[in-house]
Symmetry: none
Subunit: 126 residues, 4 copies
Amino acid sequence: MLLELDFSHETPIYLQIRNQVVMGIADGRLAAGERLPTIRALAREAGINMMTANKAYALLKQEGYIQTDRRSGVTVRAELKSGGAVPDRIRSGLRLLIAEAKLGGAERRALLDLCGQIYDEMEETE
Amino acid sequence: MLLELDFSHETPIYLQIRNQVVMGIADGRLAAGERLPTIRALAREAGINMMTANKAYALLKQEGYIQTDRRSGVTVRAELKSGGAVPDRIRSGLRLLIAEAKLGGAERRALLDLCGQIYDEMEETE
Amino acid sequence: MLLELDFSHETPIYLQIRNQVVMGIADGRLAAGERLPTIRALAREAGINMMTANKAYALLKQEGYIQTDRRSGVTVRAELKSGGAVPDRIRSGLRLLIAEAKLGGAERRALLDLCGQIYDEMEETE
Amino acid sequence: MLLELDFSHETPIYLQIRNQVVMGIADGRLAAGERLPTIRALAREAGINMMTANKAYALLKQEGYIQTDRRSGVTVRAELKSGGAVPDRIRSGLRLLIAEAKLGGAERRALLDLCGQIYDEMEETE
DNA sequence: GTGGTCTAGACCACA
DNA sequence: GTGGTCTAGACCACA
């Protein structure tokens, strides 16, 4: 999976990496067990500092999205979290975005269609 | 409307204010034309600096959510809807959150129900 | 001539009044010798403070656009400044606006056409 | 590019900086991709506060004239032209200045020549 | 009184 | 080192 980094974007680079890996896993571009580049390789390919690559991986690991192993390097975790309530952090994020969309004139139907469409584009993994 | 600021949160204070005002408008707690506290009053009540309050209002003003009037202070803008497509910034935000929710085990049905519920809680304004 | 004041605009009200009177004279809606409302009348009609109306008229008078007379009140000055070089203040203003227009993608031809058109809409007075 | 700031001018310092950068880009003194001084350097050189320098850059960034990069600092944005119509804000500004020039005695020909000359002095960038 | 601007000094996340 | 954020205190034009 190719990372697309925007160095002039407000989102820190390490977060851009984290976010793209998360979305990559969700939409199936990154399969469970798949190997990710080493910190060193990632830093070289993306033209970033190793500290930055390290920070992104540390976050992904702490969140349970990837795991590191001395032999197989960095891999996408096979077993992901199981069902249950959507955590507050995500709810809050959705609340803000939906508020902005609504004030921007988005209809209920259009917004839910959009969300469903986004979800479906990721469905392949299931 | 009472602002709830978390000074230890990663989100800057001025953004927390901006976000809460946006959500306040969307869910009807802030009506069009309603007066918001002056910069000074907001700073005093929230225990923050005037510059911080100013920055929050400047952002809201630039985004078209409020307007400042040399006579009547700060008011919620009446007309907001620009209708049409949901801007990319919001789409990207939704994509990330939905990816995280899905990896957290959220079913399609549950997620759309949540979004619909969030939207409906704001519906009163319509 | 009806004044259109925007109380939430960044331009101070007294300047909005001054600007609209200047443009009114230039495009012929205000003829030389024509009477303007008194400060009191202007303040009442426009819903503004008398100090604000006073400030606008004081500026217009100082710039030579209007004159006050005990008998005939406030009138548009008959004889306006004669030819000569465009003052630096206006040149600077044009330079900034033209720079912005050019960076916005305006072609030379289109920009000059626009300026000529604006000038012609005022021509009737000549 | 040397900034010329007038601390006693009615135009706020941060706006003077913004305006001069815009004109600098338009007339080619600032090339696309060129680095601007850091906020700290600008503040030091110009004898102003960091917050003021920050405000100027924040405005230029928001308007799309520059971009900030955590690695290479502040640079002039390469692509700017959005082509098409001249926005109302600029039209209004031109209308006022042209009215003032006309009342000051400027002939149509002289005024358009002036505008053309101003535009041509910036042409080198094309 | 109101928003807007500015300063001097400080801390922080990021790279 | 860099941009971003925040504070305490101040001044100013405007209304």
